[in-house]
Symmetry: C2
Subunit: 225 residues, 2 copies
């Protein structure tokens, strides 16, 4: 059971999952940065997880890590917990989307399968969390996500905000002020070739945002022809 894994190990697996979603292996340095831990500590943990009774991780020195089927399942279990809890906090306790991450980060390790099932059922088995991120199903399948990076849009295209890949409270508040919330309709007006500023139409207003990792690479949209 994933339940016999420590909080710490669950955190490692979750981050490895995220870093390997693009198909590449995760480097120890990247892991260390995300977990706020020294790189040397990551090495030790990777050796441990790779040689665990059922290995959770595939690891070769200097090559980075990937998850085994078992490790992936454990990671998805944690991610499912996290996203269900975020949805629960917003829907039943009136949290805003910028407040839920830290709370869920602790609760995800503390809830039982029973609790998971009860909140999922109470919410009618939601498919996405408050940031639009897909929630893995109870049998731990991560839904395919066909959203497109805002950065990839061309002028005149219209789209709906589907999902925001971020957790920093300040940043999320900023997006909200901008009007970039889940479901918002928007239209690209133009993109300056020189300073990479994108102008978009949002709820009747014109906003300017920089193309790059800050915003446009974190906001995913669904194009509406």
């Amino acid at each position: 059971m994933a339940d016999s894994l420590t909080d710490s190990i669950q955190d490692y697996l979750k981050v490895i999952y995220e870093l390997t979603e693009n198909g590449s292996a995760a480097s120890n340095t990247a892991l260390a940065a995300r977990l706020h831990i020294a790189p040397a500590s990551v090495t030790g943990m990777m050796q441990k997880l790779a040689s665990a009774k059922p290995a959770l991780v595939e690891y070769r020195k200097h090559q980075g890590v990937t998850l085994t089927a078992r490790g992936k399942r454990a990671a998805l279990e944690v991610i499912r917990h996290h996203r269900l809890i975020e949805a629960w906090l917003v829907q039943t306790l009136g949290y805003s989307w910028d407040e839920v991450h830290n709370e869920a980060e602790k609760l995800e390790h503390a809830i039982s399968e029973e609790f998971e099932e009860r909140i999922a059922s109470a919410m009618g088995y939601p498919l996405r969390d408050p940031h639009g991120e897909p929630i893995p199903s109870a049998d731990l399948i991560m839904p395919e996500d066909q959203g497109i990076e805002l950065a990839k849009l061309h002028p005149k295209q219209e789209a709906c905000v589907q999902r925001v890949h971020a957790q920093d409270a300040g940043f999320l508040k900023h997006l909200e002020e901008l009007g970039l919330v889940i479901g918002a309709r928007m239209k690209v007006l133009d993109v300056s070739r020189y300073d990479q500023v994108m102008h978009i139409q949002l709820r009747g207003r014109k906003e300017a945002i920089a193309v790059g990792p800050a915003i446009t690479n974190r906001v995913f949209v669904e194009i509406s022809k």
Copy 2:
């Protein structure tokens, strides 16, 4: 802040609070038993808590421990969390009173003050948990409890079940089958002087229960003249 205390230490403080509610000091053996830990380990922890920067515990060798004001506050914080969560699980997720203890035992360490306030507010600031146990106020005052042990009742007295001091699921289920639930009205018919069996009238039926630590010392009632 109480939040800088580890889960383990919070558990110690909570149990010390319970064991010292009667005014006496808590023995290391009693603590060890409740925490499922070796007595020697308790000794070490008591030494640590007693010599902490702000001491959490008053401790003298072979004499047992009591809580300092600070330790008591930390204990009440954990107990408040625990009982609010139990109430929350029952009221909003349909848990039964025998299922909530273990879940709350983990969640009590994971929630923030923000979360505490939000569920308390959502429930209208309840005064008791699903077992009738009083919930410490937000400023950490434990309400006086004037309930009387069922064992102390005399024949012909009528009373309401106010509170049940127990957490074992099987035992709680048994009480429920017996009809000994919070708020139930009951009347003592007689108590056998020889085998210490108490006969009580409950929802029209006559039930026999042994006087002693199993049931009658754990069920507290409010006498209605």
